[in-house]
Symmetry: C2
Subunit: 655 residues, 2 copies
Amino acid sequence: MFRATCIAKRATHAPPLYRLAPTSYARLTSPALLARTYATTFESPSSKLIRRARTAAKYTFFVFGSTVVGCVVLTGAIFLHDAFTYHNRNIEGVPVAPRALQPERGGPKNLPILSTLLSDWEDDENRGLAEKPHLVIVGGGWGAVGVLDKINPGDYHVTIVSPETYTTFTPLLPFRMTAAAVGTVSVRSLVEPLRKIAARLRGHLINARAVDLVMSERLLEVETISPNGLKDQHMYIPYDKLIIAVGSTSSTHGVPGLEHCFQLKTVSDAQAIRKRIIDNFEAASLPTTTPEERKRLLSFVVCGGGPTGVETAAEIYDLCQEDLMNYFPKICRKEVSIHVIQSREHILNTYSEAISRYAEDKFNRDHIDLITMARVSSIDHDKVTYTRRKPDGKVETFEIPTNFILWSTGIAMNPFTKRVSELLPNQVHKKAIEVDAHLRVKGAPLGTVYAIGDASTIETSIVSYLLELVDEADKNKDGKIDYDEWKIMVSRIKKRIPMAEEQLMKVRELFDLYDSDADNSLNLNELAVLLQEIGNKITALPATAQVASQQGKYLGKKLSKLAERRSVLEANGLTMDEGDEALAPPFRYRHLGSLAYIGNAAVFDLGRFSFMGGLAAMYAWRSVYWSEQVSMRTRALLMIDWVVRGIWGRDLSRL
Amino acid sequence: MFRATCIAKRATHAPPLYRLAPTSYARLTSPALLARTYATTFESPSSKLIRRARTAAKYTFFVFGSTVVGCVVLTGAIFLHDAFTYHNRNIEGVPVAPRALQPERGGPKNLPILSTLLSDWEDDENRGLAEKPHLVIVGGGWGAVGVLDKINPGDYHVTIVSPETYTTFTPLLPFRMTAAAVGTVSVRSLVEPLRKIAARLRGHLINARAVDLVMSERLLEVETISPNGLKDQHMYIPYDKLIIAVGSTSSTHGVPGLEHCFQLKTVSDAQAIRKRIIDNFEAASLPTTTPEERKRLLSFVVCGGGPTGVETAAEIYDLCQEDLMNYFPKICRKEVSIHVIQSREHILNTYSEAISRYAEDKFNRDHIDLITMARVSSIDHDKVTYTRRKPDGKVETFEIPTNFILWSTGIAMNPFTKRVSELLPNQVHKKAIEVDAHLRVKGAPLGTVYAIGDASTIETSIVSYLLELVDEADKNKDGKIDYDEWKIMVSRIKKRIPMAEEQLMKVRELFDLYDSDADNSLNLNELAVLLQEIGNKITALPATAQVASQQGKYLGKKLSKLAERRSVLEANGLTMDEGDEALAPPFRYRHLGSLAYIGNAAVFDLGRFSFMGGLAAMYAWRSVYWSEQVSMRTRALLMIDWVVRGIWGRDLSRL
């Protein structure tokens, strides 16, 4: 505008350009008109600039205009589509198998056996599926969704057994729903109904809890989760292939008083946490609350310095800084204290050192109280007690008065996993079901029972395969392994237990190191020691969503391959149950990096290199989080959540 | 493309247009080039058409392109804005009044008195507000939000007392959250934190339940809602003006077994209803469920044919028709039955007859079971029992086995309203606190206690003002009212009780009708009969969000006017408490129409004319619903919800 006026002024001093009658000229003396005339006639550099600016403005306006038009058209289209989603459908007489309405009883406990489900006779496609091998997936988390994602439709009759009717997306990191806990992300964008996910495979959902397993008869015993006014029932679900993907529970470490703690495993947990935080603030804002009580109400303690703990602490900090501060008395903000109790020397200790230092620095800047090398000894409803060893070896005891304690310190077996482990004498692992590299449960009938995710751990003991390995590698049958034979053996081990790969990098060095008698060959004793020690060095896979998801996808692909190649297998004298090794390589984990969100900053650990920082990293974190969502619906909702958060702040209501 | 090729073919047969060297010509024989040359040279009608089509295509493409660009820019801008919302703020030493940290005790029960709140000394603005009259609003619903909406900032020290920290938007219709119950609308778009709403006025929230009132000392007794690990406390909140806007509870009608019923008053209710519906479907889809049990699980009973009941029934029907059908065995859909039990002859009986007939026809087409003229006699956990009088006068008893019962049959007083009513001897109304036309609680000290919304009812008894009215109107003081005096009286009555207006339309007729002795004047006896009968004919305002919201806004405006004109009032020898009549007309309700959503159709009752129909009416209903939202945030979320519903269907998870 300012520029236009300048030009206009200059223009009035310019000589008349056309022979104009005085009246016409008077008509043209309007500065804006003159400017236009001047601009179109003389092509001076500045007027060129103006012309371009004007064109640019015109185009900007046009782009803006068409954006509005486009958005209106799009909205219209969506509502038009919406209008067509309202219609009535009629249900004709749908055939139901008599066996589905009145299931036979059987098995050791003489319970109903659900060999046919209600919708199995609904149409030809379902009838066909009912004849296929029955695949039963226990659990509805990352592992289960991974399997469902990769199985080809039509290969299996799929049944999901889950006490929840939805799956919760806790992407990449274990229990990643801190954000929901404090209102950044609304609950609906974190869940997806299992029935919708299973619809692609025409799968079924049994809303029940798995309680027992009869491996000899291939029956899974479940207990239904019934609505009020209905008794819980027990029944058997027959399977050809069973996948255990039930996750884990929190490890108690024998600490008394855990009933006063929150956990962060389900969406309900997240909602309860949020409610408590807001409730504490509300109580703290009353004048009748004493200053000590106010301090206690606004003291938030997180036990465990892993990703869940660190992210919760960071989110609570953000909530206080950004949103609550505007609406609660400022004295409340002043009294807030956040404490993270960690047993190791550093938080995020499974990440690279640089990352854990970055996170610690950030927390120190934010005055989040980091208490490392400490053990929680007991928990009361109003305080946490922990101990720390002083440099002189003496143990000191501390107390933090608080009204909010989050417990997130490692995993333990849930009742069903424990039961399965008890049924198999060779299962000795304390925290999960041991599986072989093909994810088959060790000790269960071959190729019928698999376990994935937090519920499982892949065996790392190579020494138990000693004789087999020697038999394969000892080409000259002298009972000893020379260097050439050792090379063969190494490749066999790598194939059998891919996780040992890293330990077997230095083939020559290993050979020389363990050849105690220096006879240029390894005898059985030397080999036993070698394999034992290598086995000990392998670190188990972490209990993360990333591992569960990869295992689920691996298993889904393999099962579809098994179904496809069934005839090939049978031609080779193998049953489907024996096909795992013949058709697919063992499971191999590809670490895609760990990441954590620590209060308007994020850290990435991609193995080789780390990446950390403020907003840029946070947006990178968001984009990974976002791309890991399973459905477009949750993806859209999540994006909307972030936009809503950006515009209107976090939701302070405590629903 | 096809068209372009045709043109190109024609073009090759066209005579050479320019004198071209053979090579140049050859260069031009590329069909596309030729077509272009042809098109720009010959302006045949068809080529004009093509040119226009091409221009149109170009523009469409451009509009589309710029929409995309615009959207990207917009998203970028939102994220840029978002980036600036992450920042740290430091809390300096914030002054807090010593009295706020250690409240004095007093009042009849010697409880702490919150005369100063924690943030009252935070800054100069808050200090100034602390000196203003203290306005205390009890409740956080439509009425309270209406008041908050209209008060000018700086006029009052505002405190909201509410057991919930958020307000729930139940627009226009009582308890309008059926949609949330079945997943069409997510919970977050229905709520808005009260602290955010109060922020404009720098208002305070006390998260507590009002329990008692000491009118002589202007103290409100409240009981805090404490988080786990904290005792509930009682305290007094002093007020200069108190507004009771606590709503109502459901009327029990003395029916036993109501603990087995759902209600639809809060968001938690809506969530519980949704969970039960999905749970029932899950249990019904198990083969072990007997056919009778399945029928019972899928039978949904709604007691009450008012808007809430009708809309819930319609939403359950929609849910079954549209979403559950795709994911549950079809036999479940077949067994669904929905029952509406209504005591009157028609559902939606407060609406026009045409509407109630339309709704009934729609329900009949949808096979929703309408049971009219029936009374629920008892409720068990697994069935509803109701009675109906047969034409011969005999009472028949029926039972519906069910696992879902919604109770929505009228309102009753909640404990606080009951207590207030007990404190005032002239309060005799059974369902609410009686207020005068200025919304002042009858019997309470003038101008200090108001009641609005469901908690209140406006007095309709004119006869109690008889002597006052005669005194004002009887100009010649003959103890009788002649026609001219009657006209004066009518205008006085209209001013005092605007709700009587409709009954007083026919001034002459009334005069003649009640002038029993035909002496052309009304004596006191005749007047008493007249006023009594007119009072009886006035219908009380319905217990709707619309009434509550209008009353709240009326009161907010009036209170601000009182504060503004304080000096004028005092100059006239009036206190602020006496200013109601001097400064503002009595409350006058403007009926904006009733509407109800009945399963992909909606009905509107706008007094003079009704409007009902399918999708068009539904969208109209949505737009009213939408415009009635209080914040842009909930408005945006609601729009998003509808779009999400349109694209991905209802959310089947039961959170």
